[in-house]
């Protein structure tokens, strides 16, 4: 038996086919990566669409992060499929009543949108590099210009319009993609732990806090690596974003749990036995206590006291790491936790993760790290902190125009 390690021990009464876990840790990694995409895109949108100029230092990093993570979103799914070579069937011959069939469309649309927005955002840089370099990389940039070398003020204003509209389109696309992931679980009536109308919204808000937190960590780490000063205002802006959304995330999760307990439908006894037993540490302590309440209280304290400087940056970064951990635990507690409660409502299983193998913990960890490696590479090709990206150029243009119009100096 090649799958001997997948067999889950159980207590109580479970259906005979449940003893082999249907969805492994990879299916917990999938919504985690998708959530980071949506969250990172939120930051980019806050700058591009909602005019949060304080977030400028991370705006392009957010875009690149979103793109890198999005590219890796399908990988856990592909590794999990029994027939990955047939994966495209879901897009070529979709079964319209299936939530899962929509993934190909949502994902491809979003990847194209991200690539387009990144291209417009980096066009001046691409043109500059294409003209400056004579090496192989120069050829690559030449190819990327798509034959358009026009970086006149008029052209850049035109680009900016595209960026704005792509960012606007991206908001429902990114959040729709993640809401849909929540729907995939929430719409199943076979499991009481999943079957909640709030599931898509919970997924969405946890996605936002995880993506913003990721950017805090990436921004602080990149500044340290590049030995440049951290823009405290930017970190503060991100902290406020996390703080605002974390409140919603906590309230929504607690509401969903309260609903489940208060309704007390069949199987609730087993769920209570589960959350107060095997799930006590992963759910209440790790996901809620350490992962959500500690950052929330810490951020609240810093906002209340007006903490600034290095202490504030340290506090926000640690809070962000905790939130990243909490959201991973949330994905785990939903995906793995849901399967640990038997469909009979009368038994509990215990997932036995394997270390090695296609669906092992090592692969899961590598899949979480792979987008960061990709980001490291992409950030060299398209430095998110380079001068000359279109937004800063356009900002300068607008400034100059204002000066001209009002005669200000």
């Amino acid at each position: 038996m090649g799958h001997a390690l997948d067999i889950a021990p159980y207590v109580g009464w479970v259906y005979p086919n449940e003893t082999i876990f249907t969805w492994s840790v990879l299916i917990a990694v999938y919504p985690y990566l998708t959530g980071l995409v949506a969250g990172a895109f939120t930051v980019s949108s806050l700058y591009q669409v909602f005019g949060f100029h304080g977030l400028k230092p991370v705006a392009h990093l957010a875009l690149l992060t979103s793109l890198c993570f999005m590219i890796f979103v399908p990988t856990p799914l592909l590794l999990h499929l029994g027939h990955p070579e047939r994966a495209f069937n879901a897009t070529l011959t979709p079964h319209w009543s299936s939530a899962m069939a929509m993934f190909g469309y949502f994902a491809s649309f979003y990847v194209v949108l991200l690539m387009l927005e990144t291209w417009f955002a980096y066009r001046p840089y691409i043109v500059e590099q294409a003209q400056k370099r004579n090496d192989l990389l120069g050829k690559f940039y030449q190819l990327l210009t798509l034959g358009s070398y026009d970086v006149s003020d008029r052209a850049l204003k035109y680009d900016q319009k595209w960026i704005l509209w792509l960012a606007i389109t991206g908001i429902p696309a990114a959040h729709g993609l993640h809401g849909y992931v929540g729907f995939m679980y929430g719409s199943l009536k076979s499991r009481e732990w999943w079957s909640s109308d709030l599931m898509p919204v919970i997924f969405l808000f946890s996605a936002i806090i995880s993506g913003v937190s990721l950017l805090v960590v990436l921004y602080v780490a990149s500044c340290k690596l590049r030995k440049i000063e951290i823009d405290a205002a930017c970190v503060k802006g991100l902290a406020y974003t996390i703080w605002g959304f974390i409140m919603l995330a906590i309230v929504l999760e607690l509401l969903a749990f309260a609903n489940l307990v208060y309704k007390g439908r069949e199987g609730i006894d087993m769920i209570m036995q589960y959350v107060t037993g095997p799930l006590l540490i992963p759910y209440f302590l790790l996901q809620f206590g350490i992962g959500l309440f500690v950052p929330f209280l810490w951020l609240s304290y810093m906002i209340w006291r007006g903490t600034a400087g290095r202490v504030m940056i340290f506090g926000v970064t640690v809070s962000a790491i905790l939130v990243l951990f909490s959201v991973f635990m949330m994905r785990w507690n939903v995906v793995i936790g849901g399967q640990e409660i038997s469909k009979t409502g009368k038994g509990l299983l215990s997932y036995q993760p394997v270390l090695w193998g296609k669906e092992g913990l090592v692969v899961a960890a590598l899949l979480c790290l792979a987008p960061l490696v990709a980001l490291l590479g992409l950030a060299r090709l398209f430095p998110p902190w380079a001068r000359g990206t279109v937004s800063s150029r356009v900002a300068k243009l607008i400034e100059q125009e204002a000066v001209r119009q009002h005669g200000l100096t």
Binding site: I20, H80, L81, G82, H83, T93, P94, S190, K343
Partner: protein, 286 residues
């Protein structure tokens, strides 16, 4: 009842239909590009696929799935828990020979004196596997011989071939589908192995075939019933606890079973509308 004499037809109806459809498409597409004979060819291919759908012999040459509406009955009061059905099913359908893959199974409910809830187990329980000494043969261990049993009974389970199947709803590629005669089949040449259907089934009736990388489930021995035979589990049951037949035939065993008994279905609140009808269930059975 060997696999050789009765090859599994699961994939065939749809894959043949799809192949024919794709051939028709290819044919049609070629003609569109080519000549003025286009319209004629399109009409011809449309007529062909239409004819197939209307044919009296579908999905096989001598079987018309519009002329049957299969259903299954279980009389739990008769089941003796011998598990011949489970073994016959595995042999007939090539189900993985271990204690974790079942197209059908039998549950044992035992109420001991002084206890309010039932103790439930199935043939896959480690104690029962220890009693049989093998994961290929099944028996219920005599684990309650020293206890005071108040009430005890067996409940055979299998795929409910629901009228509104959650598994079919969630399949991203339509590899699993409901036939016109009321059986849910899986096209194992098209299934991508995502296991969403396994998650969606409220009854735990679906399993995953790791070797083939596709989902699997009971199909009431579709290869047998379309040849006028009974499902393997029904055929081997020594006490007629399992009843199978055509609801279009008012005098068939299943029609009589449903007419003459007050039948129940499992988990009606899911809205799945199962087509396995039970007699002799108990409050604890889900």
């Amino acid at each position: 009842m060997t696999e050789d004499s009765c090859p599994r037809p699961d994939a065939r109806p749809s894959s043949t239909a799809r192949r024919r459809f794709l051939q028709g498409l290819g044919h049609a597409a070629g003609c569109v590009v080519a000549t003025a004979g286009t319209l004629g060819a399109l009409r011809e291919s449309a007529a062909q696929s239409g004819a197939n759908a209307r044919a009296e012999s579908f999905p096989t040459m001598d079987y018309d799935w519009t002329k049957h509406q299969w259903a299954f009955g279980v009389d739990a009061t008769k089941c003796i828990g011998c598990l011949r059905c489970v073994e016959a099913c595995k042999a007939e359908n090539g189900v993985t020979r271990d204690a974790h893959h079942f197209r059908t199974w039998v549950e044992r409910y035992v109420y001991l004196e002084g206890e309010t809830g039932a103790r439930i187990d199935s043939q896959q329980d480690p104690v029962n596997i220890a009693a049989s000494g093998s994961e290929e043969e099944f028996r219920f261990a005599n684990r309650y011989q020293d206890a005071k049993v108040e009430k005890a009974f067996f409940v055979p389970k299998l795929c409910n071939q629901c009228t509104h199947p959650a598994c079919v709803q969630v399949c991203p590629v339509g590899a699993t589908y409901r036939t016109k005669d009321g059986v849910i089949l899986i096209d194992d040449e098209y299934c991508i192995g995502c296991r969403y259907c396994v998650q969606a089934c409220p009854y735990g009736a679906r399993l995953f075939n790791e070797e083939q990388g596709v989902s699997d489930k009971c199909n009431w021995c579709y290869h047998r019933i379309t040849k006028g035979m009974q499902p393997a589990c029904v055929e081997v049951c020594p006490v007629n606890a399992r009843v199978f037949g055509d609801r279009m035939d008012k005098e068939s065993p299943i029609s009589l079973f449903i007419r003459n008994n007050r039948v129940q279905v499992l988990k009606p609140e899911t809205g799945n509308a199962p087509n396995v009808f039970y007699v002799g269930l108990d409050k604890e059975v889900r």
